[in-house]
Amino acid sequence: MFEKVLIANRGEIALRVIRSCRERGLRTVAVHSEIDADALHTRLADEAICIGPAEAARSYLHIPAIIAAAEITGADAVHPGYGFLSENPEFAETCAQCDLVFIGPTPEQMRQWGDKVSARALAKSLGLPILEGTELLTDVDDAVKKAESLGFPVLLKASGGGGGKGMQVLRSAEDVQASFETARAECLAAFGNDALYFERFLERPRHIEFQILGDKYGNIQVLGERECSIQRRHQKVLEEAPSVALTDQQRTDMSETIRRAMSKAGYLSAGTLEFLVDDRGELTFLEMNPRIQVEHPVTELIMGVDLVAEQIRIAEGEALEVRDQPLAPRGHAIECRINAEDPDTFAPSPGVITELHMAGGTGVRIDSGIYGGGRVPPHYDPLVAKIIVHAPTRAQAIAKMQRALSETIIGGIRTNIALHQRILQHPAFEEGRISTRFLDDLRG
């Protein structure tokens, strides 16, 4: 058992981790930048250490400061949350060298799954269905040849990229010739790595992901899927679980395929396998996220698990419960990410929260990083809160989320609540006819 956990993050996820720690009787240490001296995670942890100025590079991303904070407070484990250092294998290694347990997968697993080309190869070798794609592209001629053999349209992707950065759809050999060198240069500048490859491009795919947990003893639990197709520029906006696109049989089959694959890989802690679903309902592996995800609460609500508590238990060396058959989802859950941003221009909207009422009542869960009277600094992710609802059916969950959004008051900053309202009242959303192009279609 740990005694004290340092949370190397801020905002709603830092508070999320504090909650699971506190319910397990663990003490918590927050780290914070100077501008976050009055932030919620700073105020609510048992101890709080200022680790640097507002710039993330000198605070939340600064490994020595975080390790030193753990040292002076006597923390015995570190939870990285998502973003910041959560997928940084050097950080995980440094923790280990300093006798701190990193609550997450091993550094090797982070490396394996962090590089997209090696992740695809690994997934394929583990028996997961893969979207047709190519090896790394050597030069523009090689690129044209590989694109033609894969068949247009193709998606040009950076092996070291993430969050959709550096991706381009190419529809002809001319497109490839026109774009390849520029893309390579941009890619080098952005990721310090110019490795590019192609994937088959799906025009209107769904984005579906499966939540897994793995322990030190090779046990893997697959906790169903999340539907994450509602995205803007590859950033998820609204998620739900389960997905209307999967039949029960597909869910069962895919869960078993994933369980076998990840057992073989010996995956540790929480992770998410992302898939694209084409118009015939076929799932193909996209990537693996070796961390807790923003949208994990929808899974928690329908499966009745506390994923962060499970991460902690696993890191403490406990074994997962082995079940004869996977947990069945109960009801339907939807999450809306509330961002401090202009609903039309999507420009960030920092400020002081002058008025605040978060939705409440039956079946509503709030995971928030702000408080009335507090400040949203301009330096970090605009995600300020998540509203998550749980109801017996999808239609009831939609009605409940509409009700929850209608009663949410956040004064002093602008938010994307109106965008969520437009999504939820759209007939195509109501009927479950969605794809990753939904928001472009909505705005187009």
Partner: protein, 143 residues
């Protein structure tokens, strides 16, 4: 003209709390003044924090001292080893670049150097105690 009543109310609240007769705030082209008749203020003002001579004196002292703050999270040491003398003592004259203390983090001994010359008038952290980023370590008076 847009009137911010909430702000005005805050000012009045402040006027009350601090037992003042007037507050005037000017910013860019905006100016706000709130005034009250001194005679109207009665003794029975709860939680009055009337600034007094002592308070003023303490604040004044602040003014002519500057602080050396910790650029790291870590453990504060006044001397290079347990047996040696402190790098500096109260009353010492220091020069720019002089080592004042060590902040240890991740087994590394980071020497903290003076950025201004002056006299050490106060040591604010005990030897061996943890410090956060930005914690005040020494007060230095310019000479």
């Amino acid at each position: 003209m847009k009137l911010d009543l909430e702000q005005l109310r805050e000012l009045i609240r402040l006027l009350d709390e601090a037992n003042l007769t007037e507050i005037e705030v000017e910013h860019d082209d905006d100016r706000i003044r709130v005034r009250r008749d001194p005679a109207a203020i009665v003794a029975a003002v709860p939680q009055s924090v009337a600034p007094t001579a002592e308070g003023a004196a303490a604040a004044a002292a602040e003014e002519n001292g500057s602080y050396v703050t910790s650029p790291f999270v870590g453990t504060f040491y006044r001397s290079p080893s347990p047996d040696s003398d402190p790098f500096v003592e109260v009353g010492d004259e220091i020069v720019v670049g002089q080592v004042l203390c060590i902040v240890e983090a991740m087994k590394l001994m980071n020497e903290i150097e003076a950025e201004t010359a002056g006299t050490v008038v106060e040591v604010l952290v005990e030897n061996g105690k943890p410090v956060e980023y930005g914690d005040k370590l020494f007060r230095i008076e310019a000479t």
